[in-house]
Amino acid sequence: MPLVDLKDVVKRYGTNTVLNGVSLSVEKGEIIAIIGRSGSGKSTMLRCVNGLEPIQGGTVAFDGTIVNDPGTDLRKLRQHVGIVFQSFNLFPHLSVEKNITLAPKVVKGMAPAEARRLAETVLRKVGLAEKIDAWPDQLSGGQQQRVAIARSLAMSPQLMLFDEITSALDPELVGEVLKTLEEMAREGMTMMLVTHEIGFARKVADRVVFMHHGKIWEEGPAAATLGAPRTPELETFLSAVLH
């Protein structure tokens, strides 16, 4: 059974159909890169996976649970699905430690001392062990984004969703975040990542999904799909992003 299974997903905002029959399954341990022009529905698809967006048609399943079933306990589901956003979305009124430990304490009832150790562990994974007592606004964008990744990791998710997590960063800070992603890839994390970093997608992803007009226009193994696009749309897109 695939970990994530989207079947004919339709998402509309009013009369604007943003996802127009999207089907995609992701196996455990797979890394999927999602590329496509602005407005093609990449973020929306990602947000459907953890139920942040209600859908109007089709089904979204995670680990056998139907996400769009009104009876599904989304809170429980989201403990297993981490998401990291372009804009970090750290909690500005909480220290790095508290950002990370909030959910383990509140959702899982973890004791403060254990939660602190957990924060130390996940911060070490993203290379920021020494920032545990810092405040978000004392960190660079790259560091903030790595704290956001650590915050998600603290819930031990089975799946990580990344939505253009390097797009808001200065070019010299992109590398440190991508390195963290590579680390997670090596540890076997299942990941779906929306990215404009084509080189990174080719290097890390198992499969590439190209979205166009709310549809999965083309998908396949990363190297083959990016190296030899089958559709003119993907070819145009690639030549545009690769200059």
């Binding site: 942040l52 989201r78 979305n89 909690f91 500005p92 009124h93 509140v106 959702v107």
Partner: protein, 216 residues
């Protein structure tokens, strides 16, 4: 009989301030409870709850406080229900302050970006936990200046309770003027006493804001 405006009159005015303070405290407490409920209704994900909150705010903000005082004090007694001035004042001021505080706090809650709610939801936090640990702490900081601003208005608006028999600061001033015929001196004193109440509040608000900012 006309007499001089003496220090004793000033003391009487100061003494009348206790009713001003008591009314303010009741209004702020009652209004705070109502306001919190209204703010939460107004940001609720359920549309009927939002509408209920909106209607409440529209009705109360669109009617004078004086009318509520009359309704609760005189209106109910005409219907045969005897209401003490305290109950009438508490009810009227809670209704009134609740609408305004509710709107202020709703604005502060909504000023927190939607992405903060999403970040909390994505970590598996319930709606209540998102409010409690993420939204309210951030909104509180924003809420301090406008809340204190409203509190200062409230202090001054307690003078309306004179119509149902409270002899608070402004009313005491009127009574003193009636016997001394020194309106200028009396009302200047009254104004100074209001200032003494309000000024420290605005100062405290600034300090608190700074402190919360330092503690993030």
């Amino acid at each position: 009989m006309i007499r001089e405006f003496t220090f004793t009159d000033v003391l009487y005015l100061v003494a009348a301030m206790r009713w001003t303070l008591a009314l303010t405290a009741i209004a702020f407490l009652g209004g705070g409870i109502v306001g919190l409920a209204i703010a939460l209704l107004r940001v609720s994900p359920l549309a009927p709850l939002r509408w209920a909150g909106t209607v409440y705010v529209l009705v109360v903000q669109g009617t004078p406080l004086l009318a509520w005082l009359f309704v609760f004090f005189f209106g109910l007694s005409i219907l045969g229900v005897e209401v003490s001035p305290w109950i009438a004042a508490a009810a009227s001021y809670s209704i009134y302050a609740g609408a305004f505080l509710g709107e202020i706090w709703r604005g502060c809650l909504q000023a927190i970006p939607k992405t903060q709610w999403e970040a909390g939801a994505s970590l598996g936090l319930s709606m209540a936990a998102q409010l409690r640990y993420i939204i309210v702490p951030q909104a509180t900081r924003l809420a301090i200046p406008p809340t204190v601003g409203f509190l200062v208005q409230l202090i001054k608006n307690t003078s309306l309770a004179a119509v149902i028999g409270f002899i608070e600061l402004t009313r005491e001033g009127q009574l003193t003027t009636a016997t001394t015929f020194r309106p200028f001196t009396v009302y200047l004193t009254v104004a100074a006493l209001y200032f003494l109440l309000c000024f420290p509040l605005t100062q405290a608000s600034r300090r608190l804001e700074r402190r919360l900012h330092a503690a993030r």
